[in-house]
């Protein structure tokens, strides 16, 4: 038996020297340990060994098997490593500088900015409402306290429709519906397309987007408005901003303000964006007029609130460096395709 084992060992050592690849190595394993392999045959001989020697012979066989298997495995390992190396170094070098297929889709810059701003508001607990583009005279004017004889109601300024309605002139047209829909405390914004009957040039559009917001609760003060606007604008511009209020005049708020923000592009030092003034006029706002609250079914003796409007087109132009507002409604794909999804 020992002789036979030695013979096999010798045979293996010889054979291994000649092995060139993994396949041959695996074949050798089968030759030894397969169903009728050389070593398997040796094990079959055990049944002929006298019972008292069976243990000893078994032990010898097992030791020899381990040894031979070890030799084959080592060789296998070596071969597979060689083969992987061969595969690696014979592989085609991929030119990763070649262009990959690009995402060519784009959102309109207004959509991108609008969503960014909406996310700031939703993070502050505001609901984002949807409004109509055609509104009744009541919603657009009367409900928000625009007097009967106000010039805004004139044909020259407003797109009146032949059914008696108007293309909404401001997002405030949604205020009445929203004040009626919710019970205080109310926090809502309502972005939308607005229209003015005016001549179009680089800085005037007859079709433009606004985003308006209202906050209604007990004892809302001008101090609250300042706090809120500062927090909100800091988030939008992604840095702490300074704001200031100046007197403004709108029928739907009393008092009314123009809110300026210290130019976030030059920190108030003066640049082309702020026309060297250091401040950007950004946001008309004010304390909601008691008549507007009353029209919305809220008691001004109990509640007060503030409202503010952001010109989405202006915000879009500020953040994209566009200087002609007409581009926004132009369908100029050369321009629009440059915008991404965020």
């Amino acid at each position: 038996m020992q002789n036979k084992i030695n013979e096999i060992k010798k045979y293996i050592l010889e054979k291994i020297k000649g092995i060139k690849n993994l396949k041959e190595c695996q074949a050798l394993r089968v030759e030894m340990f397969g169903k009728s392999g050389k070593f398997t045959e040796l094990f079959k001989l055990i049944k002929d060994v006298p019972a008292e020697e069976k243990g000893k012979v078994g032990q010898i066989l097992n030791t020899a098997k381990q040894e031979i298997e070890g030799l084959i495995s080592d060789n296998e390992r070596k071969m597979s490593e060689e083969e992987i190396n061969k595969e690696i170094y014979s592989a085609e070098k991929i030119d990763i500088t070649l262009p990959a297929e690009k995402c060519t889709g784009s959102l309109h810059p207004r959509t991108i900015i609008q969503r960014e701003i909406e996310e700031v508001f939703t993070s502050m607990g505001f609901v984002v409402e949807d409004g109509n583009e055609v509104e009744t005279e009541y919603n657009n004017f009367t409900a928000v306290n625009v007097p009967e004889n106000h010039p805004a109601r004139d044909m020259q300024d407003t797109f009146w429709l032949d059914n008696g309605e108007v293309l909404k002139t401001h997002t405030s047209a949604s205020q009445n519906r929203i004040l009626k829909k919710y019970t205080p405390p109310i926090r809502a914004i309502f972005p939308g397309r607005c229209f003015r009957n005016e001549d179009v040039d680089a800085s005037h559009e007859n079709t433009f987007f606004q985003l308006e917001g209202v906050i209604v609760d007990k004892d809302v003060s001008v101090g609250n408005l300042i706090y809120f606007m500062k927090e909100m604008l800091s988030k939008i511009f992604n840095k702490p901003v300074e704001v200031r209020l100046r007197p403004g005049f709108f029928p739907f708020t009393e008092p009314s303000f123009e809110m300026d923000v210290k130019c976030p592009f030059c920190d108030g030092k003066g640049c082309p964006t702020c026309k060297n003034g250091g401040w950007i006029e950004l946001c008309p706002c004010g304390m909601i007029h008691p008549q507007v609250l009353r029209n919305g079914g809220l008691d001004p003796e109990v509640y007060s609130g503030c409202a503010f409007g952001l010109g989405l087109d202006r915000m879009t132009m500020l953040s994209t460096n566009l200087n002609d507002i007409r581009e926004l409604n132009s369908g100029n794909l050369k321009l629009l395709k440059q915008f991404k999804i965020k």
Binding site: S106, H108, V127, E133, N149, L167, F195, D217, F249
Partner: protein
Amino acid sequence: MIISLNWIKEYVDLSGIEVDELVKRFGLSTAEIESVTHVGGDLKDIVVAKILSVENHPKSDHLHVLMVDDGSGSPVQVVCGAPNVRVGLKTFFCRVGGQVKDMKIKPVNMVGVSSNGMCCGGNELGIEADTSGIVELDESAVVGTDIHDILPVEDVLIEIDNKSLTNRPDLWGHYGIAREFAAIFNRKLKPLKLDDVSQYEKLKKLDIKVETKNCFRYTGITVENIARHTSTPLMKLRLNYCGMRDINLLADLTNYVMLELGQPMHAFDNAVVKGITVIENKKPVTMQTLEGEKHEIAPNSIIICDEAKEPVAIAGIKGGLKSGISESTNSLLIESACFDSATIRKTSRKIGLITDASLRYEKSLDPELCLTATERLLYLLKQADKNVKVTSSFTDVYNFKYPKITINTTADFISKRGGVKLSANKIADILTRLGFQVSVDKENLKVNVPTFRATKDVSIREDLVEEVFRMYGYDNIESAPMSMPLTPVDKIPTHELEYQIKFALASRFNLNEVHSYVWNYLDFNKQVGIKQTSVVHLIDASKSGQSGLRTMLTPTLLKFADENKNKFSEISIFEIGRTFDELDKNNLVNEKKKLSVVLASETQSEKNLYFKLKQIVEYVASELVNCKIEFNKTENEIYHPVNSCSVDSGNIHLGEMGILHPTIAKNIDKRKHFACLELDVNKFLETEKLAAKITHTSKFQAVSLDFNFVMDSTRPYADIDNIISNFKCNYIMEYCLKDVYKNEEVLKGKTSYTINITITPKDKTLTSEEIEKFSKRLIKTFEAQNINLRT
């Protein structure tokens, strides 16, 4: 509106306050300032000089050679081109080394004669409108005196944004602005110098009749014996600095009082106009204005007529030529009146004539101002010409008085609204500075609104909040955090879905979002063959160019595709926008929120484009909305009559999609294939939502089987799909279409579909008998529908 700071300082002492500070505080407390211009500093070494001699220039037919006495001791030779030079005339003379605006004066040789200085024209100096010659100064002017010692030429001109004064009729004159400055800086406002008209009470009354309720107040007074015809240099200077032109004393006075008090005034030649009737015209009236232009005045305007009922002025806008004053006028009827603001605005817009007067009347002027303005004008007239005689009493038809406004409020209310604790006395102090009368009783405030703020601006306690805090300084209000209950925020489904669709189309389907106008472009539609009839129209389409509102969104996107067709071989655009195709039973527009996609391609087949649309629709339905979707027959004129379909979910009609009608496609671009879809976004939210369906996985071996079915080519694949999806089977079954094969020679009117079906039992491995049984049953089911295995 331009404000002269020197003029303001006539009424309020602002000494010790820098101009920058004045401007800043005014901007933060009152109104927006557009620009601040320092003027007059560029008038240097300009003195009064007397012309001693005038000789014709030897080589020029219009120049003169003058010797002037400029007070320096020795006469100076100067060449001058002005026609009004004469010996003895006193004028402004700029010495060599001096400066007239951006012109530095040096000795020059003018056509062979040396000239050492310049005689100045009023227009050159900016102190008069006259351009015809050099300034003619009064005999009393002292030779050698610097211009700065005679006239306040050095001034700061502040331009205020008119729009920010729309609600403040009281700020349309210098005196009102001075009142604001006084209040802001807590200085005293000086009273106006007036000529008290009560002294003329006994004189004859004028014949003034007011026949319209839109004339709130009409006052008149007559004067005569006017000898002086030119205004004082100061008055001319101020008019010019404030953007007006000096004309003659009487015209200048009316303008001066308007700039000072904000009250427009008009002077009629009393020789022409003896009595006044104010009417509202029922028919159009034609009148020639002072400038000689003829205007047709639309009905329902206010017209000033003379005693013969002939129109002499368009009330509040412009005077008529016939009754206008000239240098020779020596008796006047002075109008000071107040009209309804809306009526003036409408007339002014209708005839296209916006004047300094109409701009002011539009703001709802205080009728009380009529009297003050007349008294001020008379004072100034008498100052200019001592011999003027008033010949009538102040005749006053005062038909509409604004009600007196008293506001009761508390210090607590004002403080809470502002967010700053202020005492009642502090509030009373601020309001008093602004002309309010305030009585304080502990916390309670009783505030009488002055007439000049009571025409529309201040009427409720919230208005007082504004008055108090704009004076207190908005920048002094501390920012104050708000606290609100912790409640979840609703998401509005229509708004969310809109954004999700936009995001998916751009990021997954490589589409480009556009924004368009809501008009129905008739010309484009006609050109390419789209029929679109609007349901609602703009009444005035002069600025938009189109009057109808769109009923479909796709034509607008096709227009964009048309505009971009030569720049791109592939166009994939979309928009979510509104259409206006329906009126409800109350005649109100029932607008729709539509998604439109237009695909145009030079490389993709129509079929590929059509399928891309299908992919989009299915993505929205299954991934964003979770509703089922069907494609049914449609008839819509803009689509290909064969290759288009209606998109539905149950009985909810979502819209249409298809290949664009070949006629329209060819009219836009022959090189491209077009496909488009238009869906109602909000309708998706009305669909029935599918129940969430999760199939459990099995650990037993799956069996994958391929079947080749042949079916008449006229039948849709959906027939096969329906059979499989309705096939009852105890195993987990998945299937897909692997291949479609068409070959007329071999299949003869039929199409072959290779379907791969995978079956997996939940609890065992299938035997070959069971697999056989499954196949046979499936094939039989197909055969029953005339679909056979390919042999």
